[in-house]
């Protein structure tokens, strides 16, 4: 049960940050860069939005990986310590 709860929390984190990233990429970024459209042209604006979206995507993947791997290594280390503490089990 504890494992399911922990992995569900990771799922929830991934889901919420995915939705937040989509909002930032599709709503906030075009709004923030709309000024650039008049000054630099629509193509450059699209390139900037795509570049920033890629960076957000990579940050999201890195956060996801770090969270999952830290959770995994923490549990595994704790189990090893427990095994050392009680060698008869």
């Amino acid at each position: 049960m504890r494992t399911i709860t922990d992995l569900t929390l990771i799922l929830l984190f991934v889901w919420i940050t995915m939705l937040a990233s989509l909002v930032v990429i599709f709503a906030a970024l075009p709004f923030l860069t709309s000024k650039l459209t008049t000054e630099l042209g629509r193509l450059l604006e699209q390139v900037i939005v795509a570049g920033l979206a890629t960076i957000i995507g990579l940050v999201w993947l890195t956060m996801w990986r770090e969270l999952a791997f830290r959770y995994f290594s923490r549990i595994l280390t704790r189990n090893v310590e427990r095994a050392h503490a009680s060698p008869d089990t």
Binding site: L7, I10, L11, W15, L22, V23, W64, A68, F72, L76
Partner: protein, 337 residues
């Protein structure tokens, strides 16, 4: 009375496809497994102490069952024939890649490329809309990038489903739950013909689960696992439920992503010397402590304590159920926005 007729018109095709998909797959598995065993197409069930030999490539029953039940869907929705044709050809291309991979060796780098070819019928028949709907945003326009995303979507869903086909019933269980979410989501957006297609897949997966659950009597192999993933990817595109489908497939995507992030490249299970799971003398499975072993979803589930094989599958199905609920919430957010 008119309301009842509407209800019947909406749900009867899906119910029929579900029943036909289930019945055909269920009836086809025994003869196909006999043929596979007779021709020596068997694989070792590596997570059992006695390592029994199980008939492989029985996913062919699923492929035939679901493809045949698409005809039933076609009978009800004759004006959606192009979409049905795209679904059938896309999934059959990927199933063929799976069969080739079993009979020859395609390799971990070429397989995702070949599975991406499954997107070609969808692109050629132009049965997609490059305007995906997103929660809190509404309809977006991705005219240039969307066709590229279709190629990626088919390859990712097919291969991530394939990578979760590690335990008895793990793929059929988790993908059945994901498909239930897609049936609900496609009904929510009013794409009843795609909901019927998803119901056909659900019927096939449910029938296969009876034979593939612990202790497995048959294996899907790549032909069935790649087919299932590609079918879910195609349904997401044709049904216009892309974000919900990604959410429903999170356990599969998570599993594939963790493995890739740890190993640093595309890989086949057989080429990894440091196995993520080990069998204990009492038959339970435990997470390997080898730091070079890939971090998979099953290894994460086992990190806390060793479990029986069927218990791991139950954990995976529970996680898929959470994802399915989140997928339906995502689609409701899109519909209500």
């Amino acid at each position: 009375m008119a309301g009842e007729a509407d209800l019947l018109e909406t749900y009867l095709p899906a119910a029929s496809a579900l029943i036909v998909g289930f019945a055909l797959t269920f009836l086809l598995i025994p003869p196909i497994s006999k043929i596979m065993r007779k021709h020596g197409i068997v694989g070792t069930d590596v997570h059992k102490l006695d390592r029994p030999l199980i008939p492989e490539m029985c996913g062919l029953a699923l492929v035939i069952g679901v493809t045949a039940s698409t005809l039933v869907v076609g009978f009800f929705y004759r004006d959606s024939i192009l979409k049905l044709l795209a679904f059938v050809s896309a999934t059959l291309i990927v199933a063929l890649v799976g069969a080739l991979d079993r009979l020859t060796t395609i390799g971990p780098r070429l397989k995702p490329v070949l599975t991406a070819f499954g997107a070609i019928p969808i692109l050629l028949l132009s049965v997609y809309s490059p305007r995906p709907s997103l929660p809190f945003i509404g309809v977006t326009r991705l005219t240039i990038i969307y066709p590229i995303l279709i190629l990626v979507a088919i390859a990712v869903t097919a291969n991530s489903a394939n990578m979760l086909d590690v335990f008895n019933g793990s793929l059929t269980g988790t993908c059945s739950v994901a498909t239930i979410a897609i049936v609900v989501c496609t009904f929510l957006v009013g794409r009843v013909e795609i909901a019927a297609l998803a119901a056909a897949l659900l019927g096939g997966l449910a029938a296969f689960h009876i034979y593939n659950r612990y202790p497995a009597k048959v294996f899907l192999s790549d032909v069935g696992s790649l087919y299932t993933g590609a079918a879910i990817g195609s349904l997401a595109i044709l049904g216009h439920v892309e974000v919900a489908a990604v959410t429903a497939m999170m356990p599969q995507i998570m599993n594939a992503f963790y493995g890739l992030a740890k190993v640093g490249r595309l890989y086949e299970r057989k080429e990894i010397s440091a196995r993520p799971i080990k069998i204990l003398p009492d038959g339970r499975l435990a997470a390997s402590r080898d730091p070079s072993a890939p971090v998979t979803l099953s290894r994460m589930i086992l990190a806390r304590s060793p479990l029986k094989e069927y218990e791991i599958t139950r954990h995976m199905v529970a996680l898929s159920s959470v994802s399915a609920i989140l997928a339906i919430i995502t689609q409701l957010l899109i519909v209500w926005w």
